[in-house]
């Protein structure tokens, strides 16, 4: 299933080709290729241990690519360290949220603006994030570590937005949240995409991911086994099979 197809038509913010990720010699990602075009929402779905997080970490540089290349905004990024990939405009909202537990909500958000700290626009960005997640506004002085799981997810996304990313990588934003909150988080993902931010969404909630994204890839034990526009995949019986971990 070749994925270079859509790359020609749109400028790609992210191009992953032949990506392999190794942990102590064992491959968790085995030659994955896909692109995410500017303004697109692309979903990466798959069961536990399929390698989704590993792909995102390699994209942002938290783990090295053993083979293959990661191109961000047209630039080969393999040798670029994480903090400079963030400076290029790519930001990961990691699995487990990684809130700075001992810092207040306000400080967490401010740290998101570490690279974009000009006072002139900082206030406006702050307001925008609080409009997207009003819950955070009520808790600005609360320690990040004492927030509920849902609030932490909002904070993690809000913090990422403070840096005005062009490409947002979301690792299972709905994980462990009640259905109502899940719906709210997905709604905010759509809101964020409307502002022109490109999104790569890793999810296990296949149904919502396929409703939210434009295109999706299904990852099974480190390989993409199925790709296509979400409209088609929604009715594809193989999705269910992949999700249950059966071979296709």
């Amino acid at each position: 299933m070749s994925e270079a197809v859509s790359a020609g038509t749109r400028a790609a913010d992210l191009e992953v080709s032949g990506l392999q990720v190794l942990y102590g010699g064992i491959a968790a990602v085995k030659g994955v290729s896909f692109t995410v075009g500017r303004g697109e929402i692309v979903a990466l779905i798959g069961a536990n241990g399929a390698g989704k997080t590993s792909v995102l970490k390699a994209v942002i540089g938290l783990v090295p690519a053993a083979k293959g290349t990661v191109r961000l905004f047209g630039r080969e990024a393999n040798a670029i360290p994480t903090h400079r990939r963030t400076a290029l405009g790519a930001t990961l909202v990691p699995e487990g949220r990684a809130i700075f537990a001992g810092m207040s909500v306000r400080e967490n958000l401010e740290l998101g603006a570490f690279l974009k700290r000009d006072a002139a626009t900082l206030g406006a960005r702050f307001e925008r994030v609080l409009r997207l997640f009003p819950r955070l506004g009520e808790r600005l002085d609360q320690a990040g570590g004492t927030l509920s799981g849902g609030e932490q997810q909002m904070l993690a996304i809000g913090r990422a937005l403070m840096g005005e990313p062009k490409l947002l990588l979301l690792d299972e934003p709905s994980l462990g949240l009640a259905p109502k909150l899940v719906a709210q988080i997905f709604a905010s993902v759509v809101e964020i995409a409307k502002t022109g931010i490109t999104i790569l969404l890793v999810e296990q909630n296949t149904r919502l991911a396929l409703e939210t994204a434009h295109r999706a890839h299904v990852l099974v034990t480190g390989k993409i086994v199925l790709s296509g526009p979400c409209a088609e995949l929604r009715s594809d019986p193989r999705i269910k099979a992949a999700y249950l971990g059966e071979t296709l």
Partner: protein, 305 residues
């Protein structure tokens, strides 16, 4: 009663020196979970930097002619030694710690001890093992306050230490580099995701901690009259205990721990026996490790994700 206050004054000034050194241990531990055993040697070399800078600025000429060393030049000595030690700290980090940062925890511990021994012996070689009288950067002036003898030196030690500690607090809380340091100490990968250059932040931590240790070294020289190449061993260890007592990784904790160790040491020497002044520190270490291993102001750390 005035005897008691005398001990308190002496204890607080000694303790603020421990506090300055303890800050470096605690900041580095907070970020790297590494005990920087070479930190005591940075303190020692800071004292020597001050010694040589003061000589270069002609401190002997002033004292020979009965004049006191100008305050401006004393500040140059202090800041110059702090800058040199900052450079040394950054160099130690680059040579001894960065190459083994992702190795198992024991490896950087061993390179730390290696760096410490190397610097001790280099200092013995370069400066001879003999103690040197510390130059009179500040000429001692004594005055009595309600029966308690206070010297301008003890006062200066206290004032310099407090100013530096308040400065550090403001820096860590208010500047972007300070925020980056706190972020890296809480979650290194998350800090990277914010666009923080973790290596640069670690360098800044070593630079600041080492500069504070150098200030401690100069104040120690003024207080204790002589310096020698092995002065960092025991004093470094005591400052480390101070950091553990306050809660290692915790900046206010290092200050509280330093002051408490200084007070405990002076009171023990004054009321029990001077022979026990070093032993009390290690007794405190044992007690704190048994009763409250996370330290007075420390919190039990949750494992990072």
């Amino acid at each position: 009663m005035s005897e008691f206050f005398q001990q308190i004054i002496n204890g607080l000034s000694l303790g603020s020196i421990y506090a300055l050194i303890a800050l470096g241990y605690t900041m580095v531990y907070g970020i790297l979970k590494l005990i920087n055993f070479a930190h005591g040697e940075v303190f020692m070399l800071g004292a020597y930097s001050g010694y040589f800078l003061a000589s270069a600025l002609g401190v002997e000429r002033y004292s020979a002619s009965g004049q006191s060393f100008p305050l401006g030049l004393a500040l140059v000595v202090l800041l110059g030694a702090m800058a040199l030690s900052a450079l040394l700290g950054v160099t130690i980090e680059a040579l001894a710690y960065r190459p083994v940062r992702s190795a198992p925890r024991l490896t950087p511990l061993i390179t730390a001890i290696g760096a410490s021994l190397f610097l001790q012996n280099a200092a013995v070689l370069l400066f001879t093992p003999n103690p040197r009288p510390y130059p009179p950067i500040l000429r001692e002036v004594r005055f009595t306050l309600g029966g308690v003898i206070v010297t301008n030196i003890k006062l200066a030690i206290f004032v310099v230490a407090i100013v530096l500690m308040i400065g550090l607090h403001q820096f860590v809380q208010r500047t972007w580099t300070g925020r980056a340091m706190r972020a890296v100490s809480m979650n290194m990968d998350a800090a990277r995701l914010m666009g923080i250059d973790v290596n640069a932040t670690i360098r800044a931590t070593f630079a600041i901690g080492s500069a504070l240790a150098a200030a401690g070294g100069i104040l120690f020289g003024l207080d204790q009259i002589t310096i020698n190449p092995l002065m960092g061993v025991l004093t470094g260890l005591k400052a480390f205990v101070a950091a553990v007592l306050g809660g290692i990784g915790n900046i206010p904790g290092a200050v509280v721990g330093g002051l408490l160790i200084g007070l405990a040491e002076q009171l023990t020497a004054g009321y029990l026996s001077p022979d026990y002044r070093d032993a009390i520190t290690f007794l405190i270490l044992v007690v704190i490790l048994v009763l409250k291993p996370e330290g007075l102001l420390g919190v039990v750390r949750q494992e990072k994700v």
